[in-house]
């Protein structure tokens, strides 16, 4: 099998992820409630994961790390906590439905900052325009899940920080692959990410990094194991946003993924980008294929979309699957991105890499793709 669907969920994980999850299932009890040894072990495991996230993302304190089910949960929480009747949001033209749908559901007015794929200057211009229009909350997809385009986060942050406007960063595709330093992002109020993609943890894990005291309203209320005599939700972090028993085995696995990323020190992202470059070069020689690539490689991560002039994206993905090659076709839950790129009617076939993919897999992929295109 060749697995190129890592933008959805990374499949190959460091072995420690499996071991730590199994150990947690066997040895860790209820988190944050009881005082016996298995419960304390759960507390230690969860706290250690917070500490690792602090190191990887340049946070100041472990309590800034809120564990969620996934990035969608984290984004819903951040949007819920940062919006009110006065909110006028601005979002990029590459946002996922996990941003657009919560805004729609809450009736929050938003404007889309239109820009062509990989056009950093265009996005900056659109952001300036949104500020002039009175936008008071920006939600930014750090790296597109469809095209892999990376936004000029530092320049946008500088613009917003100078204007005193907060930003929610959707780091669903960038966390683990691109350096994110919360200390340097002055306008970031929240950074949202899944655990099961670039951070190499299991499904059912995600993180919301709290970077501002502006986040007040929790999405859920309930038991926290703290201040139990009070009928109101505790305000202290992380308890304010963490009600109910968390996914301790998942968090133990996520911690193992974070340890791997920290140990590798940026190698994962470099490897994914290099593989994407090689794949783009290889696909360029195949008739009928249109790839979507940045003119500056640094502006694109380990995600590459392509389509064929005469064959539906879904058909190509289905044929590849018959050869044991895993990619995703369609709109990838991001219709705005396809509107921005002009691919709404065709969708794309998306190839997304992990640090465990190889050049040999790319060669095999291209051979099989050529075979399929000849047959169809």
């Amino acid at each position: 099998m060749i697995y190129f669907d890592n933008a959805a969920t990374s499949l190959q994980k460091p072995h420690e992820v499996y071991w730590e999850m199994q150990a947690a299932m066997q040895r860790a009890g209820g988190y944050g409630r009881s005082g016996h040894r298995p419960a304390l072990r759960a507390g230690e495991l969860v706290y250690e994961c917070r500490e690792l996230a602090v190191r990887l993302f340049g946070l100041e304190a472990p309590e800034q790390v809120i564990f969620t089910m996934n990035a969608t949960h984290a984004l819903n929480q951040a949007i819920h906590a940062l919006t009110d009747a006065q909110t006028h949001a601005a979002i990029t033209g590459y946002e996922h439905n996990s941003v657009v749908r919560p805004l729609e559901e809450r009736g929050i007015p938003y404007e889309v900052m239109h820009s062509a794929p990989f056009d950093a200057e265009g996005l900056l211009r659109a952001a300036r325009h949104a500020l002039e229009n009175g936008a008071n909350l920006f939600i930014m997809n750090h790296m597109s899940n469809v095209f892999g385009g990376i936004i000029p986060l530092e320049a946008l942050d500088s613009l917003l920080a100078d204007a005193g406007i907060p930003m929610i960063v959707d780091a669903s595709q960038s966390a683990g692959a691109i350096e994110i330093n919360a200390k340097r992002l002055r306008s970031a109020a929240a950074i949202c990410m899944p655990g099961h993609k670039g951070l190499l943890g299991p499904q059912g894990t995600g993180m919301l990094l709290i970077c501002s005291d502006k986040l007040k309203r929790p999405l859920m209320q309930g038991g926290t194991g703290s201040l139990s005599a009070e009928l109101k939700q505790p305000q202290l972090l992380p308890d304010r946003f963490e009600s109910g028993t968390p996914n301790v085995p998942g968090i133990a696995g996520l911690a193992a993924g974070l340890r791997y990323i920290l140990r590798e020190g940026g190698r994962a992202g470099r490897q994914e980008r290099r593989l994407r470059e090689i794949m783009a070069e290889s696909l360029a020689g195949i008739a009928g294929i249109e790839t979507f690539t940045a003119s500056e490689s640094i502006r694109q991560g380990g995600v590459l979309s392509f389509r064929h002039s005469g064959i539906a994206s879904e058909t190509i993905a289905e044929c590849l699957a018959e050869y044991g090659i895993c990619v995703r076709a369609g709109l990838h839950c991001a219709p705005l991105a396809h509107q921005s790129a002009g691919t709404l009617d065709t969708g794309t076939v998306r190839i997304s890499f992990s640090p465990f993919n190889t050049r040999t897999e790319i060669r095999d992929f291209c051979d099989k793709l050529c075979e399929i295109l000849q047959k169809l």
């Binding site: 988190y31 944050g32 409630r33 009881s34 005082g35 304390l40 507390g43 230690e44 706290y47 917070r50 500490e51 304190a61 472990p62 309590e63 926290t224 194991g225 703290s226 201040l227 139990s228 005599a229 009070e230 505790p234 202290l236 972090l237 992380p238 308890d239």
Partner: protein
């Protein structure tokens, strides 16, 4: 051996306290303090040697860490 307890508001805060004290060479273990010793139910505490209390207080002050109570 005599012990002291640093009472914290939550388990996360107590674990932070344990790490902070470790940095000053003070060993502490997580405990659930008895009800009569706490201001809020379901608090968490860090148990240390009574002889370490002076160093522990100094460390917490240095790091601007405010526990709920110490006994």
């Amino acid at each position: 051996m005599r012990r002291a307890m640093i009472v914290c508001h939550s388990q996360t805060e107590a674990l932070k306290c344990v790490r902070l004290l470790e940095g000053a060479g003070v060993g502490g273990t997580l405990r659930k303090p008895p009800r009569d010793k706490i201001d809020n139910s379901c608090a968490w505490g860090v148990r240390i040697r009574a002889g370490d209390l002076f160093n522990a207080r100094r460390r917490m002050q240095e790091k601007n860490f405010c526990p709920s109570r110490i006994y």
